[in-house]
C-alpha cells in the first residue's frame, strides 16, 4: 500500500488584516486576514518548518528524500531542497529535487514521490510545498495572497491514507504568470478565467479520478479543492454535484490564497478530521489541474500531527499597520550586498550551523554545539564524537536588545540549553519580546538571518514551543 504516512501544516505566526490593507489604499476591504511571513521567513524556511514537524511524527524520524515545491524559491541556481535536506540533517543519499514554476508544483512533487516509492527507490519521501507570493502594492491580489507551507510524507509502511487513483490535465491557459524579471504575479483574474481555466481543468481532473475509482460524489467524505479566490471552489463543487458540507474550508478568511502549498495544506487540514475508511478527493489547479483520491486507513485514528492546522489557524500576531507589514516583506531584500563569503568556511561549518550537529565527550557525556577538540567540562580530547542535537530546549538567560539590527526593535535574544545537552545563542521570534523569560520552553526554527555575497544566509532562531 502506498500513501500518506505523515503530514503537517506550517502557517507563519503573523497576520495582516484585509481592513489594514484597505485602509492604506482607501479601498474596499474583503474582510478577514492573510497569513504573512515575518521578514526572516521565506518559502524555504516555511517548508523546512513544516518538514521538520512532519519528520518528527514519522516512524524512525527520518526520510529517504525531500522534494520541495514552490513558485517563490529563494535560490534560482542552488538546490533549495538540498539546503532543506541539510537543515533536516537527512543523509547525503537522500533523494532531493526542486519542483516549481506552477501552482501545481506541489502535486507534481507528490506524484514524483509516489512514483519513486512505487518503484522501490525509497521507502519514504517527504514533500514540502511553500510559497510567499508577493502581490503588487495596491494591486488586486494584495488582499488575496497569503503565505504558508505544508509537508506530506509518502511511503509504503504505516500508511494513514492510501492513494487510490491520481491523474490530471495540463492546459497552457493564462491565469497567473510571472516572468524571470517580474517581482509580482500578473493575474488575469476574471469570470472568463475562472470558467475557462480553473473550473474546466479542475472538473476534468476530478471526473477522471472519480471514474477511475468508480466512485460517485456522494461517496466522497471530503472534497479538498484549491481555489484562486474566496469562492470559486464552492461554485465548482456545486456544479460537480457535491454538497457544501463535503467541501473542505479553504481558510480564505484566516490566511488567504497560499499558492503552491494550498492543496497539500488543505489536505493536511482535512486529514486532521477524517475517519478511517473516509474517501478524500484532492484537486489542485495551476496550468491545468491535478487530482487524487485517497482512502483513510485505521492508522489515521491514532495519528496526530505535531502542531495542528487548526491550532495554527487560531493563532496569529497581527501587523498593526500596512507600513509595518510591507517593511517586513521588503526588509531583507533591501539589505546591502556588503558581505564577503568564504565557501571554505561555509563547507567547514555546515555540520554545526546548518545540520545542527554538536559534539559529545565519550568520557563525561557533555554535549556542545561548537565542534571543539577538547571537552568544555573534562578537557579530554580523545573521545569527542559528532552527534545530532535536539531542536527543543529551555531559555537559560535572555536579553531584549533595542540596538540589535531589526525592522522592529527590540529583539529578544536567548541562550538556550537544548534538551539532552548543548547550548545555542539565538533570537527569540514569534512572540512579544517582553514575554521571554528564564525557563521558557522553546523550539528551534531556521530563519533567514542576513543577505550578502550573493547568498541568503540562514541560521537558527527559536520560538515558544508549540507542542
Amino acid at each position: 500500500m502506498i500513501g500518506i504516512t505523515a503530514f503537517s501544516a506550517a502557517i507563519p505566526a503573523y497576520r495582516v488584516a484585509r481592513d489594514t490593507i484597505a485602509a492604506a489604499w482607501e479601498s474596499r476591504s474583503l474582510g478577514g486576514r492573510l497569513a504573512a511571513h515575518r521578514f526572516d521567513e521565506d518559502s524555504l524556511t516555511l517548508a523546512a518548518s513544516a518538514a521538520q514537524d512532519c519528520l518528527a511524527t514519522l516512524p524512525g524520524g527520518s526520510a529517504g528524500g525531500l522534494y520541495f515545491a514552490t513558485t517563490t524559491a529563494p535560490f534560482l541556481e542552488r538546490l533549495n531542497a538540498g539546503l532543506i535536506a541539510a537543515i533536516l540533517d537527512l543523509p547525503p543519499d537522500a533523494r532531493t529535487a526542486d519542483f516549481g514554476n506552477s501552482l501545481r508544483a506541489g502535486l507534481f512533487a507528490l506524484g514524483a514521490a509516489t512514483d519513486a516509492v512505487a518503484a522501490g527507490r525509497s521507502d519514504n519521501i517527504l514533500v514540502a510545498a511553500a510559497d510567499t507570493r508577493a502581490a503588487a502594492a495596491g494591486g488586486d491580489e494584495e488582499q488575496n495572497y497569503g503565505d504558508a507551507a505544508a509537508a506530506i510524507a509518502i511511503g509504503k509502511d504505516h500508511v494513514l491514507a492510501e492513494i487510490v487513483t491520481r491523474g490530471g490535465v495540463s492546459d497552457d491557459f493564462l491565469e497567473t504568470v510571472r516572468r524571470d524579471r517580474d517581482p509580482y504575479v500578473t493575474s488575469f483574474a476574471s469570470k472568463f478565467t475562472t470558467d475557462r481555466g480553473y473550473a474546466r481543468s479542475m472538473a476534468a481532473a476530478i471526473r477522471k479520478n472519480l471514474q477511475n475509482a468508480q466512485l460517485e460524489p456522494v461517496q466522497i467524505s471530503k472534497l479538498v479543492l484549491s481555489s484562486p479566490d474566496k469562492g470559486a471552489h464552492l461554485a465548482l463543487a456545486k456544479k460537480l454535484g457535491f454538497q457544501p458540507a463535503q467541501v473542505q474550508d479553504t481558510a480564505w478568511e484566516q490566511i488567504g490564497v497560499t499558492g503552491t502549498p494550498m492543496p497539500l495544506l488543505l489536505l493536511a487540514a482535512a486529514l486532521e478530521s477524517a475517519k478511517p475508511g473516509d474517501y478524500l478527493l484532492l484537486a489542485g489547479h495551476g496550468d491545468g489541474a491535478g487530482a487524487m483520491i485517497l482512502r483513510a486507513t485505521e492508522a489515521l485514528a491514532k495519528y496526530r500531527p505535531r502542531v495542528t492546522f487548526a491550532a495554527q489557524l487560531a493563532a496569529g500576531i497581527e501587523f498593526r499597520s500596512y507600513a509595518k507589514w510591507r517593511k517586513s516583506c521588503d526588509y531583507l531584500r533591501e539589505q546591502g550586498e556588503t558581505l564577503e563569503i568564504s565557501n571554505i568556511f561555509y563547507a567547514k561549518e555546515e555540520s554545526q550551523n546548518v545540520r545542527l550537529r554538536g559534539v559529545e565527550c565519550g568520557h563525561c557525556g557533555t554535549r556542545q554545539l561548537q565542534h571543539q577538540r577538547l571537552c568544555p567540562k573534562c578537557s579530554k580530547s580523545d573521545a569527542i564524537k559528532e552527534v545530532p542535537l535536539a531542536r527543543t530546549g529551555v531559555v537559560f538567560t535572555f536579553s531584549v536588545d533595542q540596538l540589535f539590527p531589526s525592522p522592529f526593535p527590540p529583539t529578544a535574544t536567548a541562550v538556550v540549553d537544548l534538551e539532552g545537552g548543548g547550548r545555542i545563542f539565538c533570537e527569540v521570534v514569534d512572540c512579544a519580546p517582553d514575554t521571554v523569560r528564564i525557563g521558557l520552553p522553546v523550539e528551534l526554527t531556521i530563519r533567514r538571518l542576513k543577505e550578502g555575497g550573493g547568498l541568503h544566509h540562514y541560521y537558527w532562531k527559536c520560538r515558544p514551543k508549540r507542542f
Binding site: N353, T366, R367, Q368, L369, Q370, P376, K377, F396, T397, F398, S399, V400, D401, Q402, L403, F404, P405, S406, P410, T411, T413, V415, D417, G421, G422, R423, I424, F425, C426, E427, D434, I438, L449, K450, H457, Y459
Partner: protein, 389 residues
C-alpha cells in the same frame, strides 16, 4: 609563580586627556597629549624611554591596529613598541606586560599608552565580530552583558533599582572630575525612567562610547628612588582568560565572572593580601554596565556572592564609604575608550595615591586596585598599586 612582582616596578608619571566626544582630535593628537603629559609629570623626555606598549582595541589601519600608530604620532622610532589587545582588558594588560619587561631588567624606562577613537567610525558601539553567525550579525555589548545580568538578577532576586544606585554613585563622582566624559549627577528616578537599551539596562546603566588616551611612565623602584620620585609601586598583578562564548558553553552558569576571581587571586597573592575589603583603600573597577560593578564587588572579594547589591545600597562603595569604588566616575561617567580605560585607571590610582584628586580625593589612599573585564566575562586583569610612605 615564584618571584612576586611586588615592589619591583614604580610608576613615575601619568597623563590623561579629557575623555569624551573628541571629534576635533585625531588618535595621534590624543596619543601625543597623553604621552607628553606623562613625560612632563615624570620629568623625563620621550627620548629617555627605552620601549613602549600600546594598548588599543579597535581594528583598522588608522584605528590603532599597528605599532606604527604610536611610532609615527610620537616619532618613537628605532625602539621596541608592542601592541597589546585583550578585549576590554587591553589597557591594564598593556601595563602588565610593560611592568614585566621592566622587572626583568631588559627595559629601564617604558611608556604605556592606551588610546582609542571610538567615535570616528561608521558603527555605533563596538565593531561586531565574526565568530558565530548570530554574533556576527547583530549582537551588541549591552545585549551580551544583559544575558549575564538577567541570569544573576533571576538567581539573587535583584531589581533594576539596585543597578540604578551604581549609576547614581558613579555619576556623582564623575561630576567632580573635570576630565570625565559626563560631569553631571543623575537621580535614581532618571536612571529608571531612561529609555531601555537592552533589558535590564536602560541608557544610564550603560557606559558611553568615548574617545580618549592615557599614559604612564614606569621604571624600576631603584631608578625611581635614584630620581627622587615619590614611590608608587606595583604590588601585584593578575590576568585570567575564560571562554569568550559562554552562550555556547554548557558549563558556564553565568553567575559571577571566574576570570575576575582568578585574576584577583593572582594579584592578591603577589601583594600578600588576605582581606581585600579591609586592606584595599579604593578601587577602579570595570563598570561597563551598572550591574557589572555589582558582580565585580563579589568577584573581587569586597563582599560575599549575592551581596553586591547590598554593598552599594549601604554606601560602602561611595566616596567616603569603607571601600570607595570608581572615585573617578568609572567607565559609566568617565567614559570607556576601550584600550585607554585600563591605563586611565592607573592614572586615577596614582593621582589618588599622591592625594592630588581634589574634591574626589579618597581619604587615606594607600593601596588602589584597578580592574578590567573584557568580552562577556572572558578576560580580566587586576592591578594593585600602593604608596610606600
Amino acid at each position: 609563580m615564584d618571584a612576586s612582582i611586588r615592589d619591583k616596578v614604580a610608576v613615575i608619571g601619568v597623563g590623561c586627556t579629557k575623555f569624551g566626544d573628541l571629534v576635533d582630535q585625531s588618535l595621534a593628537d590624543l596619543m601625543v597629549e597623553a604621552a607628553t603629559a606623562a613625560c612632563s609629570d615624570a620629568g623625563v623626555g620621550l627620548d629617555e624611554l627605552d620601549a613602549a606598549w600600546l594598548g588599543t582595541f579597535s581594528p583598522g589601519m588608522n584605528g590603532g591596529k599597528a605599532t606604527i600608530t604610536l611610532a609615527d604620532a610620537l616619532r618613537f622610532h628605532g625602539r621596541p613598541i608592542t601592541r597589546v589587545e585583550n578585549y576590554c582588558a587591553t589597557g591594564t594588560d598593556a601595563f602588565r606586560n610593560a611592568v614585566m619587561a621592566v622587572a626583568s631588567g631588559q627595559v629601564r624606562m617604558a611608556l604605556v599608552l592606551g588610546a582609542e577613537k571610538l567615535k570616528d567610525r561608521p558603527v555605533r558601539g563596538l565593531q561586531r565580530e565574526g565568530i558565530d553567525p548570530f554574533l556576527e550579525y547583530g549582537t551588541t555589548a549591552p545585549g551580551m552583558f544583559a544575558l549575564a545580568a538577567n541570569r544573576y538578577m533571576n538567581t539573587y532576586g535583584v531589581k533594576r533599582e539596585s543597578l540604578a544606585k551604581v549609576a547614581v554613585k558613579n555619576h556623582a563622582a564623575g561630576a567632580l572630575n573635570p576630565k570625565a566624559h559626563f560631569q553631571m549627577k543623575v537621580t535614581e528616578e532618571q536612571v529608571l525612567k531612561a529609555p531601555l537599551i537592552a533589558y535590564p539596562f536602560g541608557l544610564f546603566d550603560c557606559c558611553p562610547t568615548t574617545d580618549g588616551a592615557a599614559a604612564a611612565i614606569i621604571c624600576s623602584a631603584e631608578t625611581a628612588r635614584a630620581l627622587g620620585k615619590p614611590l608608587i609601586t606595583v604590588k601585584g598583578m593578575g590576568l585570567a582568560v575564560r571562554t569568550g562564548k559562554p552562550f555556547l558553553d554548557p558549563t558556564c552558569d553565568y553567575v559571577g565572572f571566574p576570570a575576575t576571581q582568578e585574576a584577583a587571586a593572582q594579584a592578591y597573592k603577589a601583594a600578600g593580601i588576605k582581606d581585600p575589603a579591609g586592606e584595599i583603600s579604593f578601587a577602579e573597577v570595570h563598570d561597563c554596565f551598572t550591574w557589572t560593578e555589582i558582580t565585580n564587588y563579589e568577584d573581587l572579594g569586597f563582599c560575599k556572592l549575592g551581596e553586591g547589591a547590598k554593598f552599594v545600597a549601604e554606601g560602602h562603595s561611595a566616596l567616603g564609604g569603607k571601600l570607595p569604588v570608581n572615585p573617578s566616575g568609572g567607565l559609566k561617567s568617565f567614559g570607556h575608550p576601550v584600550g585607554a580605560t585600563g591605563v586611565r585607571m592607573v592614572y586615577e590610582i596614582v593621582t589618588q595615591l599622591r592625594e592630588q584628586a581634589g574634591p574626589r580625593q579618597v581619604r587615606n589612599a594607600r593601596l588602589g586596585l584597578a580592574h578590567n573585564l573584557g568580552g562577556p566575562g572572558a578576560v580580566s586583569c587586576v592591578l594593585l598599586l600602593g604608596r610606600d610612605t
